[in-house]
């Protein structure tokens, strides 16, 4: 009974050895999970329907489809490679039998349609079963082709290619609640696209200075409001958030609201600006709050309060004294994502050493868990981890100096309604399910 108070996770892990997973995203029902990798591939997992015969097999995720989304390109004008790495995937709300998603690399966004085929026509008059033309002299009667069932085949086709919209690297895409438009943001500009129109886009934010020497701030992430189709937010490398209303003007360079927390003078250092840079911003499902991730913290902002976040959670404050090293090895520029659970009561983000953190907003409790093959076998319960900062060290604690900074969890996703999370750890994908459903809701 004492276990009820613990967070219990059962591990179903899928191992992919050949490439870094760079994006993880559940669709709106949670039935499908899309992952993107550094090689430009997208792998979609589908949740098996729960069967009453095997209660423990509660909806495992299996591979549904794999396709090559982006290929490496070479920009001859600039003599530079364009990486095929998938930066972002966003599902469109399902409107018919087919599923659709947007995937993007640094430059090009593509709309993919995923359909199932489980029937095929048989009994043609002019072609035989293999498709070869029949000898007409052997055809003595006419038949009507009929549809016969076949093994399920998942077909993925590129429906739209939104190219040439960005000079700089695309860091986010977000589908509007109107289901007709979406936006894509790069370092300096945000474009609004119509899903059916590929040869033009509408520039709605442009922070490129007239003189590039004056450039001191870039766009780091952006997202549409989940309910209000006219509102979107974008974050900057200086740690500020700007909420924009597309009804106010065509070019939303002027924000409607600016969310910025004043700097703490006692904590000021040469790295203050770098660690304040927001790496991810996510609206809550309710639309009332925003979640931001900077290098050391996650913060919850109330849309109605611009002066400071309503909640701040320390992800790994023990790194504050290591910032110089982390600057030297470039880790200080790592962009971690963050996620809400379905009810907006718990937030999650990744850290180093394959650790990820969860914060319960109601109980104010937090937990550190590890996603690794060594520490968790399939169906094992994850054990909470602890990082000790010198002083008393308990058994199984990890000291700050033995953290592996090459093992970083940048991408995490939470099922829209259930306690299922997907964690991308370098080239592995972990999916954890909560077997005890009560306490986290």
């Amino acid at each position: 009974m004492g276990e009820d108070t613990d967070t219990r996770k059962i591990n179903h892990s899928f191992l992919r050895d050949h490439n870094y997973v760079t994006e993880v995203e559940f669709n709106h029902t949670g039935e499908l999970l899309a992952t993107g990798d550094k090689g430009g591939r997208v792998v979609i997992f589908q949740r098996e329907p729960e069967s009453k015969n095997e209660p423990y097999n509660q909806g495992e995720y299996n591979v549904y489809s794999t396709f090559q989304s982006h290929e490496p390109e070479f920009d001859y004008l600039k003599s530079l490679e364009i990486e095929e790495k998938i930066n972002k995937i966003k599902w469109l709300p399902q409107q018919n039998a087919a599923h659709s998603l947007l995937s993007t690399n640094d430059k090009t966004i593509k709309l993919w349609k995923i359909t199932e085929r489980d029937k095929r026509p048989e009994g043609y008059n002019l072609k035989d079963e293999e498709g070869k033309l029949k000898d007409l002299s052997t055809v003595t009667s006419l038949q009507v082709p009929v549809l016969k069932p076949m093994d399920l085949m998942v077909e993925v086709t590129p429906r739209r290619i939104f190219a040439n919209g960005h000079t700089y690297h695309v860091n986010s895409i977000s589908v509007n609640s109107d289901c007709e438009t979406y936006m894509s943001a790069d370092d300096l500009r945000i474009n609004l696209w119509h899903l059916a129109i590929t040869d033009r886009s509408f520039n709605i934010v442009d922070i490129k200075p007239a003189n590039m020497e004056d450039l001191t701030e870039v766009i780091t992430a952006s997202e549409f409001h989940p309910h209000h189709c006219n509102l979107f937010v974008y974050s900057s490398s200086k740690g500020s958030l700007r909420l924009c209303d597309m009804r106010a003007s065509a070019l939303c360079d002027k924000h409607s609201k600016l969310y910025e927390e004043p700097e703490d003078p006692s904590n000021r250092s040469f790295f203050s600006e770098i660690i304040s840079s927001v790496s991810d911003v996510k609206f809550s499902h309710s639309g009332r709050y925003m979640l931001t991730r900077d290098y050391l913290t996650v913060k919850v902002w109330d849309l109605n309060m611009e002066t400071k976040p309503v909640e701040t959670y320390q992800v790994h404050d023990y790194l504050r004294s290591k910032l110089c090293s982390l600057y030297e090895n470039d880790c200080i520029f790592d962009k971690f994502e963050c996620a809400w659970n379905g009810s907006d009561s718990v937030i999650m983000t990744g850290a180093y050493n394959n650790f990820f953190r969860m914060f319960d907003r109601n109980t104010k409790r937090d937990v550190t868990l590890e996603a690794s093959r060594e520490s968790s076998k399939p169906r094992a319960i994850l054990k909470p981890r602890r990082v000790c900062v010198g002083g008393k060290r308990r058994k199984d604690d990890i000291s700050v100096d033995s953290l592996d900074f090459t093992k970083k969890i940048l991408h995490t996703a939470w099922h829209p309604t259930e306690n299922i999370i997907a964690i991308a750890a370098t080239n592995n994908l972990y999916i954890f399910q909560d077997k005890v459903n009560s306490e986290m809701h």
Binding site: L77, L80, T167, R200, M212, S237, A250, F270, S321, C324
Partner: protein, 264 residues
Amino acid sequence: MGEEEGLHQTPFLDTMFVRGLKRKCFDGEEDIEGTLAGIKAIPSYNLQRQSLLDMSLVKLQLCHMLVEPNLCRSVLIANTVRQIQEEMTQDGTWQMINTQSTGQASLDRLVSTDILCRSSRDQAEGKHVPAYGTFNKDFENDQAQDSSDTMSTASAVQAPRNLQSSVWEMENPQENKGNFQKSLDQIFETLENKSPNSVEDLFSEVDNSYYDLDTMLTGMMSNTKMGHCDSLETFSSSTNTASNSNCKSDLNDLDHIVEILVES
């Protein structure tokens, strides 16, 4: 510990980073830092700051040549460099007036500010301009192009970009070309003399050869510099082809600079 108290800066507690540097620069610093026997074991704040500055400059210059550099990272590093520069300007380190204990921080700042105030206000800002001419190359790396194209079309009119209207527009290589023209113009502008007098003013009082693009590339410093000279030379990506001539008016040097920017 006492050295850093007055500065309200987070101390650089991480000694892993400065370990290597200590060996190289300690001798150079010894003359200046010799009086601080108590804290010889810990690299001084100024030394650490200088190391950070050098490291940042190296980071900016060493870009992945195949793939476009990360603009966000470049901007953050450049901002860090500017912060350090501003602070070094404020406490007079820039002029090597004092690198000693910061127990006298406030008084020293008064002195250094006084000196800076002798020149025009613009000098402080003007000083940053050539610096960003250097960093600009990182921002503009993604718009690198054949240098010959640039030279011949240097006077081309920039592609008009209608930012203010609600025109549905598509960005294409044509615009990139226009951007590149524009940004190269900027670089040229900062390197050339706007007016001879202002340049004289810029450089008369303050030795900011540190920011001189030429100096940066060749890793050479003027004679007045001490101490951190060594660390700069250690870190700088020296290209010994460029002479110490004034690159601001020499077209050949501009050519050379464009070559380096384009990394052909």
